[in-house]
């Protein structure tokens, strides 16, 4: 239970950073932290006390394994998170080339 609450706190730190900061790179850092928290939450749900990792070994029989389904889902999610981060960084660099700043309050050409 404590693990769930700590994971939720990590997500809230990332959420606070997305909502409050004015620098685009800080917003990207907040998105990365929120993604870490969500992936950790999935693996926490699938954990089993005194479980083993879901890989068979040739000498000892393994009877109780942790849940293998959240691990498969999180594997895909981590690589997609990298693709999202790369796209965001490319957009941020383009914005810097055009406006000369990372501050989001100074980017006003699409307003109105």
């Amino acid at each position: 239970m404590i693990a769930y609450i700590l994971c939720l706190t990590l997500f809230c730190v990332g959420l606070y950073c997305i909502l409050r900061k004015r620098n685009i790179i800080k917003i990207i850092v907040g998105i990365i932290i929120a993604e870490y928290a969500v992936n950790l939450f999935f693996i926490l749900v699938g954990y089993r006390w005194e479980g083993r990792s879901p890989i068979f070994s040739s000498d000892t029989p393994i009877v109780d394994m942790v849940d293998a389904l959240p691990q498969a889902v999180v594997l895909t999610s981590i690589v997609i998170g990298l693709a999202t981060t790369a796209l965001l960084v490319a957009l941020a660099m383009r914005i810097y080339g055009k406006y000369g700043t990372f501050d989001i309050t100074k980017i006003r050409e699409l307003k109105g």
Partner: protein, 150 residues
């Protein structure tokens, strides 16, 4: 030769890179091929292969790295990886439905076992590795253009 001496990092970094780049590539191929018997698989192996080329580019500058893996070759590998994965999936139609595991199962713990899973790992790693290297090359070139305009 003297133009390459200006680009990239110092001599110590270049010497160590010459020793380790091949080992990183070999390690990535090992993790990729043993994806069905030990942890790892297509995604981790593909990212490690991309990291070895990124390592070459960081230490030597972009000209040397782009000579080893030029841009048309990168886009060819990425498209080929995606099409290979689709072809393996359509191969399942010969057995019954989409994505059926049609090749022989083999015995466990051997390298040639588990049907189409090693082939699918190779296709996925080609796609992920070439795609991530293409993203990195594009971002590095953009940075150079923004710097030279100032």
């Amino acid at each position: 030769m003297s133009r390459e001496r200006e680009q990239g990092m110092s001599v110590i970094v270049k010497t160590i890179t010459r020793l380790t780049v091949g080992l990183i590539l070999l390690y990535g191929i090992y993790i990729l091929l043993h994806g069905h018997v030990s942890p790892g698989g297509g995604f981790a192996g593909g990212v490690i292969i991309a990291l070895s080329f990124v390592h070459l580019m960081l230490a030597y500058g972009k000209d040397v790295a782009l000579r080893k893996l030029p841009k048309p070759a990168t886009s060819f590998f990425e498209g080929m990886g995606a099409l290979l994965f689709l072809a393996i999936a359509l191969l399942g139609f010969t057995g019954g439905y989409f994505f059926l595991n049609v090749l022989g199962k083999g015995e466990p713990f051997r390298l040639f076992s588990a049907g189409i899973i090693p082939l699918a790992n190779i296709a996925i790693s080609l796609k992920v590795g070439a795609g991530l290297f293409a993203i990195f090359v594009a971002l590095v070139l953009l940075k150079y253009e923004a710097e030279e305009r100032r």
